[in-house]
């Protein structure tokens, strides 16, 4: 999977590396700020109130 992505990134190695880092950053940001906040209320974590 990662080898396939690497092969399909355009440009010389330096450009590929920068593009790859940007892609990783985009995925991490998407997880931290969109996906995790959305799924978190469904998980049985840290509910301090009484039912």
């Amino acid at each position: 999977m990662y080898a396939w992505i690497w092969r399909h990134l355009p440009g010389p190695v330096a450009v590929k590396a920068v593009t790859a880092l940007v892609l990783v950053a985009v995925v991490v940001a998407l997880l931290l700020f969109v996906i995790f906040p959305a799924v978190e209320p469904m998980l049985p974590f840290d509910d301090p109130t009484l039912e």
């Binding site: 990662y2 978190e40 049985p44 974590f45 840290d46 301090p48 009484l50």
Partner: protein, 275 residues
């Protein structure tokens, strides 16, 4: 002369096993990715939520300070508004994370900004039970170290008009042979209350559905004890064990002192806070 004898490289295995190789590699990469996502989620839960909460807590504090500047300590404080701050909670024995601004309500959004007050329970200083909930982990974890509170530790609530000094009640193991005569000086006003309060201890672990711990007299049906016989309690609830929603940790304290604020001297602080 040294000659390095290299054996000819074995050709890569071909045939039946070669076809599975890309598939296995893809599976391995997917599992590693999943592991990293789970690790990232832990980081989110513990750290990133605290960054969001710190900003909300700062906003609530800012707004409360503005409100307090307009209210003279001699007047009646306005009633709490859901989702807004109305008091400050100081627990000196839990270190520099305190004080926190306490907000009205215990829904998820309110608790993300700081400790929340169970609606309908007593207000600070009133007879009955001033009950608060706070996160144990993540979202700044205001009640993260509640397990470190011992009997007689001060829990100070600051309102627009007063400072209320509550102290943690004797723990289960201490209550039976508690002697107010020999107790340390800081325990003045703290003793097992007895009567309908005989099962109320400083710190307990309960099932999440034990909502009666925030009743005016914890564990006693409402209306049994007339208002003028009730003590003035504070109750802090958080989840237990840390990171889990399985049980709840409950800390009960009793009001020992009240210092009215003085309009001309806003810098005065109670001695319990080193004032």
């Amino acid at each position: 002369m040294v000659s390095v004898d290299t054996s000819p490289q074995a050709p890569p295995p071909r045939g039946r096993s070669g076809r599975w190789r890309p598939l296995l590699r893809g599976l391995g990469e997917a599992l590693i990715t999943l592991g990293l996502v789970v690790l990232l989620f832990v980081f989110y839960e513990v750290q990133v939520t605290s960054w969001f909460s710190a900003r909300q807590q700062a906003d609530a504090t800012e707004r409360l300070r503005g409100q307090w500047r307009e209210v003279s300590p001699d007047e009646q404080a306005p009633p709490p508004v859901p989702g807004r701050g109305f008091a400050r909670l100081h627990i000196p024995s839990l270190g520099p994370d305190f004080p926190f601004t306490v907000l009205e309500g215990t829904d998820q959004d309110t608790l993300a900004a700081g400790p929340g007050h169970y609606g309908g329970t007593a207000l600070p200083g009133q007879r009955g039970n001033f009950a608060l909930a706070g996160h144990r982990s993540g979202r700044m974890a205001p009640f993260g170290d509640l397990d470190r509170l011992g009997s007689c530790d001060a829990v100070v609530v600051e309102t627009a008009t007063d400072w209320y000094v509550y102290r943690v009640l004797p723990l289960r193991g201490e209550a039976a042979d508690w002697d107010p005569e020999t107790a340390p000086e800081r325990c003045a006003g703290v003793a097992p209350i007895g009567g309908p309060y005989r099962d109320v201890f400083g710190r307990t672990i309960v099932e999440p559905e034990r909502r009666e711990v925030i009743d005016p007299v914890p564990g006693v049906p409402r209306g049994t004890v007339p208002e003028q016989w009730r003590s003035r309690l504070i109750t802090l609830t958080t989840c237990h064990p840390r990171f889990s929603a399985e049980k709840r940790m409950i800390v009960h304290g009793v009001l020992t002192k009240r210092y009215p604020k003085v309009a001309e001297r806003p810098d005065l602080r109670p001695p319990e806070l080193g004032g």
